[in-house]
Symmetry: D3
Subunit: 67 residues, 6 copies
Amino acid sequence: MPYVNIKITDEAVTAEQKKQLIEGATQLLVDVLNKNPATTVVVIDEVNTDNWGVGGEVITERRKQGK
Amino acid sequence: MPYVNIKITDEAVTAEQKKQLIEGATQLLVDVLNKNPATTVVVIDEVNTDNWGVGGEVITERRKQGK
Amino acid sequence: MPYVNIKITDEAVTAEQKKQLIEGATQLLVDVLNKNPATTVVVIDEVNTDNWGVGGEVITERRKQGK
Amino acid sequence: MPYVNIKITDEAVTAEQKKQLIEGATQLLVDVLNKNPATTVVVIDEVNTDNWGVGGEVITERRKQGK
Amino acid sequence: MPYVNIKITDEAVTAEQKKQLIEGATQLLVDVLNKNPATTVVVIDEVNTDNWGVGGEVITERRKQGK
Amino acid sequence: MPYVNIKITDEAVTAEQKKQLIEGATQLLVDVLNKNPATTVVVIDEVNTDNWGVGGEVITERRKQGK
């Protein structure tokens, strides 16, 4: 029954990587809490780097600075 | 005042269907809890089938299998 | 597969009312989008009125004013 | 460490405005709770006006009515 | 219409501080995007330090280390 | 920079299990996307079984039926 939401920046994430995130998060809930994978839901949100900030700085700017 | 967030896969949902979801969710809060519809907010997130997993499987793959 | 999150204030919502919200939201997705109820998830968050604001006012204050 | 999620309609919000939202929300947490800005995360979701409802009405419709 | 969700750890945040967060976040949306404060919603989630991690470490542990 | 939100039912999850979820989710983002763990945030929400539904049924009821 768990629900996992993963928010990441939309920087060329491949379908294969998304598959691995979904499999990995589902397995984590099985391993740690013995949850039923059949009803475990994982949703990945890809967010534009203009729309994400850390430390008061937009990620787009941080990327330009090599952060 | 309630806030309702509906996450669904982005599989050709029409503007009319979104309208029905917004009306229906707002009415549900009126019917069950007598909430003021004027300040009830409904937000629908449409998620790519590559970004949604159930049972450790990506929805894109499940669709190919007719699930 | 839909995921519905309902956020409401924690003002004496009964288990029966929560049941009705869960049933109603699940049915709404069946009616409008023909979604499979078996994998539809509904999560209700009850939020303290000190932690919710509308119009820049805390709900606790609005309640005192009869809003 | 705070996490702030701002959901707005996708009505021509500029990169400069997003920057101001990220800076302002980060500063708010510093000012009110003395939080460390370095680990404060702000994520802005822009939502299509077809996917957002208030008062049981879709925002797209409200905009046509000048609301 | 904006919706702002602020997640912070539940470390003795006062009602006054929550009020300031709600007022400040609502004002930020007015200042930057000229949004109508009457329909702006702010929800504050207070999360136990056992339930929050940064850098793979639980906040409860980081606090013991003076972080 | 990733943000991971894990929602589970509040059924006697221990601090040690929460620690494993936080470590595991952080490591998953490192392994799959090479993300910097220092700014990866994980938040666990524990939800009462009265407030969670699957298949239109409240989890509290499902547990009584041995599901």
